[in-house]
Amino acid sequence: MIRASGRWLRRSPRSAPGALAILAALLMIASPVNAQAQAPEVVLDSVQEEQARALASELRCPVCQGMSIEDSPTELAVQMKNIIREQLAAGRSPDEVRQYFVDRYGQWVLLKPEASGFNLIVYVLPWAVLLGGGAVIVVGVRRWTRSAGGDDQPAASTPSGQ
């Protein structure tokens, strides 16, 4: 059996505010609907409101499937949106707020990965495949039209011909 040793267990010296805080916390946990309703206490100006919305749309909801925290009704997403609002209200820039979440969840939390390093594949590969496919079609059509014109030797004209 474990004994609560004083070294790592600390009793709050001011019990009344502590108890109130815990009561408030319990109430919030007990009723998620209330927690959501009470959430936007932070007052932002219109620019910050727009920044908060834009940031929330960029960030992945960690407990959802490919959904932003702006679109997710989950409690974690609501709490993350609260953090965005608090940090913007405290004067942090959108980049700093974005970095706060990247520092904790990694690049994964960004629905649109940054175009650098390994991530570049996501941006470059579709274009490379498109260009490559286009080149194959152009070459194929040229050969086909040439062979249709009957200029080439018949043996080398068909793609399957060896």
């Binding site: 059996m1 474990i2 267990l9 600390r10 319990l26 919030m28 946990i29 960690p62 609260n82 990694g106």
Partner: protein, 193 residues
């Protein structure tokens, strides 16, 4: 003609196969958290009341209280099925490794304390759990689903993050490795508030 086609096929296939082989070698439950290698985010949270552990309302636990010891920080909830699966392993290893300087701490994730209390009364409780209202500490740690467990070294740095139910073997492997690390120098432990 044949050779150029074969070369083209190789150029496309080899990177894809290499990527698959590399990914298959990884344990998907060991998540490369951005936190690994950095100081564990500090916190002070109210405990879940416990008669067994003699913890009452108003008691708090700070992560820094455990500095100098290996800490296993486990995010859990009573509604989480896999948490029930790993609970016997956590309690058994917590008991076995207490004397060697390993502290286990549960963090309740989006759950009602009453439900958590009933769950622990039913399944057993050998280490404390703290409450995390508004999931602030969970977000600080980048928790994306539970159970999630963080292994914190004696110098206060996050050594591993593990996603999913832990087994005794996995716990013991990680803990033995962390205990085998040399104890940190006293001055390097001052920075963590």
């Amino acid at each position: 003609m044949k050779w150029s086609r074969a070369a083209l096929a190789m150029v496309i296939a080899v990177p894809v196969i290499a990527l698959l082989v590399r990914s298959m070698g990884n344990d998907p439950r060991i998540i490369r958290s951005t936190l690994v290698g950095r100081d564990a985010p500090p916190f002070e949270l109210a405990v879940l009341e416990s008669e067994v552990l003699q913890m009452q309302e108003g008691d708090t636990i700070r992560l820094s209280d455990y500095l100098g010891e290996v800490v296993v920080l486990n995010f859990w909830a009573s509604w989480c099925g896999p948490c029930r699966i790993e609970h016997p392993a956590l309690t058994a290893v917590a008991d076995a490794y207490r004397a060697r300087g390993v502290r286990f701490l549960g963090v309740l994730y989006q759950d009602q304390p009453e439900s958590a209390r009933r769950w622990l009364d039913q399944l057993g409780e050998v280490y404390p759990t703290v409450l995390d209202p508004a999931s602030r500490v969970a977000i600080e740690y980048g928790v994306a689903g539970i159970p999630e467990t963080y292994f914190i070294a004696r110098d206060g740095r996050v050594a591993h993050k593990y996603f999913g139910p832990l087994s005794v073997d996995t716990l013991v492997t990680h803990l033995d490795a962390l205990l085998a690390e040399p104890a940190p120098a006293a001055e390097s432990m001052v920075g963590n508030p």
